[in-house]
Amino acid sequence: MRTDDLIDALAADGGPAPGGGPRARLAGLAVFGAALALVGVLAWLEVRPDLMPAMGGGFFWLKAAYTCALGLAGYLAVEQLARPLGSPRRGLILGLLVAGAFGLAGAIQLGMADDPMAMLRGGSWSRCTLNILALGAPTTLLGLWVVRGLAPARPGRAGAAVGALAGGVAATVYGLHCAESTFVFVGVWYSLGVVACAALGGLVGRWALRW
C-alpha cells in the first residue's frame, strides 16, 4: 500500500481525537478507581464503626489529604509521562515534598512516643499495605490500559506513575475503613501501599506499555 493511500485513510478518520486527551482520560480513571475502592471497602472490608465521630477530628482529614496528595503526584507525573516528551518533574517534586513532610512529622511523633514499636505497628500493620494494594491493583492495571492508548516513551516510569495515582486513590478510600491515626503508621504503611501499587504499575508497565 502506498503511503499516500494510507494518509487518505488516516485523513478520513481525522478530526478531534476520540476519548479526549490525557487529562480527561486520567481524571475518569481516578473517579472510577475511587468508586471501585469504595465498593471494595463497603463489600469486603466494612466502614470503620466510628466514622461519624472520626470525621469531626482533624487527623481523619489530614490522612485523607496526604493520600490524596500522593495520588495527585501520580496524576501529575503520568499526565506528562503519557506524552512522548513529558517529564514527571512536577509530580515527583510534589510526591517527595508531601512524603517528606509527613515522614518528618512521623519521625518527631516516633521520637516522643513511649512505645515506638507499638505506635509503628498500630492495630493493623500486617494488613494495611496489602489491603491498599488489593484495592488499588485493579485500577493500576486499568490505568496501564488507559496509558497504553496514549504515547508513553518511558514505559516503566509511566506505569509506576499511574500506579501511584491508583494507589493514592485507593489509600484515600481505605481511610474509611482503617481507624489508624498516627503520622507514624500512615507515613509508613499507607505510603508503602501506594509504593506497592507504583511498583506493580512499573513492573507490568515495562512490557505492557509498548506501542
Binding site: 503511503t3 494518509i7 485513510a9 488516516l10 485523513a11 478530526g15 512522548p84 516528551l85 504515547a151
Partner: protein, 179 residues
Amino acid sequence: MTDIETRLKALMLRGLEGDAPAYRECLSLLGVRLRAYFARRMSGAPGDVEDMVQETLLAVHLKRATWDATQPFTAWAHAIARYKLIDHWRRCKIRQTLPIEDHEAFLAAEEHDPGVGLELDRALASLPERQRILVSDVKLVGLSLAQAGARAGISEGAAKVALHRALKALAERMRHADR
C-alpha cells in the same frame, strides 16, 4: 525551519477541528520529512524505511490526543518518530544509540519518493474483509467514507467506527510483525 513548524502546526490544528484536507496535507508534509529522517538513520535497511514512515504516521494519527497544542508540533512528532525508531531497533535486537537532537534538524530534509510499504500490506491482509475494503477504498478525492462504506455494505456511521478500528488494528499488527 520555524516556517515548517508554523505551517504544520496550523494544518494540524485545523485537522483536529475536522478539516480533512488540511489534516491530509499535514500528514503528507510530515511523511516526506519522516522518510528523510528514517533514511538517514536506517542506511543498513533501506527496505524498512517506508514501513517505519507508515508506522509512524499511524502512530501520529492514533496518538494525536497526546499532543499539547501549546507545544511545538514538530517536537512532538519527532518524539514519536524517535520512539518508533528505538522500538524498531529494540525489536530487531540492534544496539544503537540515538542522540536527542534538536527537533528543528528533524524536519530539515525532504525525501519525496512516496514508496510502497510491504509490512502495511501484510498487516492489511490479516484484517477482516470489510475493514480491508474500507482502508483501501477511502479517498478524499475518490470515494468518500459514505461511498466506501456502501461498497463494504455498511452505513457511513458504521464505516467511521470500522475504519478507526481497522487503523488501530493495523498499527498493532505492524508493530508485531517480525522484520
